[in-house]
């Protein structure tokens, strides 16, 4: 049996598909967990996408909290004895999976990009050394706990004829003395860099927030999306975090990736190395980004960008 949980609904559908795939090899079934909601349509949705069972679990909390949700998962596992636990690699999911693995005295692999059974053992692949390598590891303990990021696997198509069980459960969790004081929604631009075919990204080479407009103009002409390096989103907060590309941000694989005023540190490359064509614009001829680029222009972005935007506009008309 494979147990699946993510606090991200879309991610959940992808994980259920993978759970079905893995459980086929183990000749077992996929159980989805949802926490603290009365919304049965959600459970139905998961069933239509492949879940054999959905546990609707009430913990008495109204939002995710790592310690308590770990406890709840542990209690569910005591009862169901699943061999594999798949958790969505959101920040919440990662802290849940890790703590859970400690409690269950078992192995855990974060951010798997592949998961399969080989020689009777659950085997995982994950990116290590900032994108320089892929580690293939296997579990010698049970249950195997893994996390899988969004968009690694495709969900199964919705099938209304699929049947599954919905089981409601109250779980008494141990309460920890920490508490959530406030939850602030961050403004997001509803940008989806992961699906973008063309991305124009900006880095610290830009002197002020207003100048980002130069990137947005080029992106618009290319019918693409704006992206950025970590400092632009995390330190300077000039763009929301959904633009952030790299090891700790979004992983993208567009047809065309244009990096402007980005030095090309390995943690940035880790997020865009699967792009088809990479272009770099940087005033420093020694910038690392040129090593990871197909085409580069050495020059001041303030001069290059307006000219490039114009030239592209002409070419495309």
């Amino acid at each position: 049996m494979v147990l699946v949980y993510s606090d991200d609904e879309k991610n959940m559908l992808e994980l259920i598909a993978k759970a079905k795939d893995v459980s086929k090899e183990l000749d077992e079934k996929a159980t989805a967990v949802v926490f603290d909601t009365d919304d049965e349509s959600l459970a139905k949705k998961y069933i239509m996408h492949g879940a054999d069972r959905v546990f609707m679990v009430k913990t008495g909390l109204n939002t995710f909290k790592g310690e308590e949700y770990t406890d709840a998962m542990e209690k569910i596992l005591e009862e169901t004895n699943e061999e594999v636990v798949i958790v969505g690699s959101t920040k919440n999911g990662k802290e849940l999976a890790s703590r859970l693995a400690a409690k269950l005295d078992t192995g855990c692999v974060i951010d798997c990009i592949n998961l399969y059974v080989k020689d009777g053992k659950l085997t995982t692949e994950r990116v290590v050394y900032s994108g320089n390598a892929i580690a293939v590891e296997r579990f010698n303990s049970k249950p195997a706990v893994v996390t899988i990021p969004p968009k690694v696997f495709d969900p199964l198509p919705e099938d209304e004829s699929r049947a599954g069980e919905v089981i409601k459960k109250e779980v008494k969790v141990d309460r920890y003395p920490s508490r959530i004081v406030d939850v602030k929604e961050m403004k997001t631009g509803e940008v989806n860099v992961e699906d973008a075919e063309i991305i124009v990204s900006c880095g610290r080479g830009f002197k002020k927030k207003e100048d980002i407009q130069l990137v947005e103009e080029l992106a618009k002409v290319l019918r693409g999306t704006t992206g950025c390096s970590r400092p632009i989103a995390a330190d300077l907060k000039w763009l929301s975090e959904d633009h952030w590309i790299g090891l700790s941000g979004h992983k993208v694989k567009p047809k065309l990736y244009i990096a402007v005023g980005i030095s090309g540190q390995i943690q940035h490359i880790a997020g865009m190395r699967d792009s088809d064509v990479v272009v770099a614009i940087n005033k420093d001829p020694e910038a690392l980004i040129f090593k990871s680029a197909d085409y580069g222009i050495v020059g001041d972005l303030y001069e290059v960008l307006p000219k490039l935007t114009n030239a592209v506009k002409e070419k495309m008309s």
Partner: protein
């Protein structure tokens, strides 16, 4: 306020070369350093100590000699270091148990600090694992920490939401890279730190019996990235023209 900072010695990932024939990363001879974000954790610990007094102990589990690197953290302002020698194939389970055993031996602690993720493996697994073993609350991805007398208030950066958490002590907190700017020790501080204690503890001295890793590494595969590396350095107008022509040929301008 007594603080234990978990800091990991890692290979400098930006110095990894790829063997052109096997396409595998060459890990031998790559320089070692303290994982970047762990320095943010040390910095945060020192700031809390400056406010409340107490002691900052840096703790590392390492299978290679970590003394030189740990000295940098003492120079920054940590008071004492503990190095636990780990077996060669230590996985997260093994290392977390050694960290937990060492923290219990250190004893009196209010905060355990670590990085949101290590620069080589980038899991964000160790912090919550350790909190689970110690049975204490955890606050991960903290981008702001306010340590008060009997509780800590921290902002967790969860992407599209920021969650403010509050916890009494003891608590484990992992910090993001943006939380602060780690200080660079002066020559004076480097010299003055020479006498600070570095304790080297073995597994046996921690009373930890043999630990069997839960994970087994089957293989470390290379990932190659082939790029054309065509760079236009000449006149900007000409460069732009050539670039647009190339992009049109690549079929990406549509």
């Amino acid at each position: 306020m007594n603080i234990v900072v978990c800091a990991k010695q890692v290979i400098d990932v930006s110095e990894i070369k790829v063997d052109p024939s096997t396409k595998k990363p060459v890990l031998q001879g790559v320089p070692l350093k303290i994982s970047d974000i762990d320095k943010n954790a040390v910095e945060e610990a020192i700031r809390i100590k400056e406010k409340h007094g107490g002691k900052v102990t840096v703790l590392t589990v390492s299978s290679s000699d970590a003394k030189e690197r740990v000295k940098e953290l003492l120079a920054m302002g940590a008071d004492e270091a503990v190095i636990v020698s780990a077996p060669e194939n230590a996985d997260y389970d093994v290392v977390s148990k050694l960290l937990a055993a060492a923290i219990k031996k250190i004893g009196d602690y209010d905060i355990v600090l670590g990085g949101e993720a290590s620069i080589d493996l980038f899991s964000g697994q160790m912090g919550p694992r350790l909190a689970g073993l110690l049975g204490i609350p955890q606050i991960t991805y903290a981008r702001k920490v306010d340590a008060e007398k009997d509780k800590v208030v921290a902002e967790r950066d969860v992407g599209d939401v920021v969650v403010t958490m509050e916890s009494p002590y003891p608590v484990l907190i992992t910090v993001t890279k943006e939380i602060n700017e780690p200080r660079l020790p002066s020559l004076m501080q480097i010299l003055a730190s020479a006498n600070k204690p570095i304790n080297e503890w073995s597994m046996e001295s921690l009373g930890v019996k043999e630990l069997t890793p839960k994970m087994e590494t089957v293989e470390v595969k290379g990932v190659s990235m082939e790029r054309k590396n065509i760079v236009y350095q000449d006149d900007v107008d000409e460069a732009v023209e050539k670039l647009v022509d190339s992009l049109a040929k690549e079929g990406v301008l549509r």
